[in-house]
Amino acid sequence: MAFWTIIFSSLVGSSFCWAGGLSAPISINTTAVLPKGVRSVQVGGITTTVDGWFNDFGLSTGVAEPFNQELSYSRLLQAENDENLKLNVESQLRNQGVPLETIAGNSYADINTLVVATIPAMAYGLTDRWTVAFAVPIVYTNIDAETGFVGRDQLQELVTDFSTKSRKQTQLIQSKLKDVIATELANKGYQPLEDRERTEVGDLRLIAKYLAAKELSYSWAISNTLTVPTGRVRDIDFIVDPAPGDGQVDLSIASIFEVPVTSKLRLINQTSYTIQFADVIDTRIPVNQIERASADIDEGANRDLGDIISTSFAALYAPTDLFNFGASYTLGYKERDRWRGVNASADRYWALGVETEQFMQAVYLQAGLSTVELFKRKAFFLPMMANLGVGQVVDGRNVRNDPLWSMNMTLFF
């Protein structure tokens, strides 16, 4: 009765997609389906921090790295929207003979995010080969953010000199330089980057899994997952907003091939392709590739998030009927996002897709507990399963690399 060993991932997928991108795996998917008429209720839990990522060059950096910049006077002035103040400062700099490209200081940011997703799911065995399921994640996010600015000595000298000419304007400049990131965000109409905590519903997933072949030496299943955008999408008024939804429909097709090597060891390959359908959505239009924060908004930009392909190789070992252990290696690739709109030049829309092409190599380890076999032998009153796992991206580009802890429990009835 191997098909009883349906696991959490069969319902919610084997990776935790974060707003349409790649992420570390959270389970090992098998070919198992529910027997006809059997139902299951599951609750999954995922906990991760969003502190670090592999950047476009494959280097591990902090997620706040784009905020850590050397800022020239020109760059500071560019971010200011008070025209009179800009002209006053620039004329003073010219008067002092200070080139605008001189570095005025460095901006810094530190953003730590905790994400906890609780994923209730229900599944039903339509036939002995077809199982359907749905899952709705409830996502809790907690952001702790701090920003700062360290000015160079020359800037301090200029401010001191300027204060002898106009105390009022210098106080204004000082207030703006106190936190240049906050100033720039405010100037561009963003909400302040500050601590935030929220719990919200994510995208609904509808899953159908079909056991195409079941032989002694192998089994093969195909599953389709339709992701419906029920979750909140990213608010364009926030520069950092870990939203639980990406606002568009996804269709994923996965092939799961399983080979029982021995009665205790199974090898599994899963290959999946996810189509992220194009849609129309509000967006900020970056000034350029470097300056992503922008005051310009397109309230109806055409977006086509890149499709995702991934393959994983897993081994599941069950030394006893009660316990099992598993490990997997996943290779994933996501195409670059494409954007189109009429509110700015094409290159600015193109900049929206910069650093959205993803590549990932990840590993996953799990330990599980199952009473299914005990139940079948009438040795236990309740068929249930529980798994604890950890996934980690070990290499990649434009993908988060914090460990992703997952836990799930399934009850069959």
């Binding site: 999954g44 839990g45 906990t47 921090t49 502190d51 706040a64 009179n84 800009k86 002209l87 006053n88 620039e90 004329s91 003073q92 010219r94 008067n95 200081g105 810094y108 940011a109 530190d110 953003i111 730590n112 995010t113 905790l114 906890v116 609780t118 809790y140 952001i143 702790d144 953010a145 701090e146 920003t147 700062g148 600015f149 360290v150 000015g151 800037l155 301090q156 200029l158 401010v159 001191t160 204060s163 106009s166 105390r167 009022k168 210098t170 106080q171 000082q174 330089l177 106190k178 936190d179 009473t371 236990f380 009153f381 309740l382 249930m384 802890w405 836990m407 799930n408 429990m409 009850l411």
Partner: protein, 345 residues
Amino acid sequence: MKIIFTNTILVLLGLQFLGCSIDVKKANAPTDPPKVAKSFFSSSQIVGHFRASAPVMFLWPVDRWDEAAQAFVPLSFSEQAEVRKNIVKASEDKAFYEAEFFATEKQLDEKYLGLQESLKQEYVADRCYALCDPFELSCFPGKPETFFQDAWIDTDDPEELALIEKCIANENERRGLEADQTEEEEVILDPIEAKMIAANESLLATVGNRNFFNDFTTLELVYGPVASCEVVPNDCLDIDPGQTGLVVKVLFTGGGFSNVLNSGQDHQISEVDFDQENGFLTFKVPLIDFADENRVTGELFFDLELNPKGKELIVGGDIRRTLYATGKTRVGRISASGPIMPIEN
């Protein structure tokens, strides 16, 4: 067995939500922004009556005359910044040379005045005034403050002759000092004055006549105990008589405004706000076309900063002019200075 597993289920269910109880790591970003020395402004320094005639007030140029097009063409941001830089530079040069001129002039005056005074005292001590020719109309033998004389008494007395000679030498020496002072002023002061004039001309030329507010003639501030509750700012209408208040008056060619109530057309200054901690004064006046039935054509917002220096007050800041006809706003600068006088009761 059932109890154990039921509890296990509950624990596992509970664990699903365990993550929510984890504290997110506290973010920490370095910060050391530039600092401004704390303002040492004290409103007690400006208690008194300040009146500045003909303050310098202009709008930053936003266009230039194009000879070829025979029209004004808008200045780009960079050009506006360059023009402002030139104005700032000319203003700084003008202020620098003015200060240098007056300081040098004072220095020369003090230098020569001392020598002149010493010689005059000697002249008086020698009673030179008593040796003038009584037949000369300008001779006042009894007037010690006569320091130059046209003619001397006719005498054979050797003592008197020696004294006359000494008096004439004294006069010649003082005349020589005057000549020296004039010469020194020409050598030292004239070049400074020329630079001062050049800087002023440069300022005028860069700003351009059309950007000056020539019809703004006087800025007057009275800061002190208000006799009665008749002043608009700082909710004066609700305060006790005698409390410190502020009266702002501005005078344009053709009309004057103030925030003092019950004085005819004068109470037209609005939105007066005085930041007593920093010495920042803001207020608004209507722009009135006095030649056209006092038609209100726009408004002028003053954003001033008061800088007391001894018994002087230097007022500087931004102005913002909005014309109702076009809805456009232009910004500019104002600067004025003058003594702080006691308040007349």
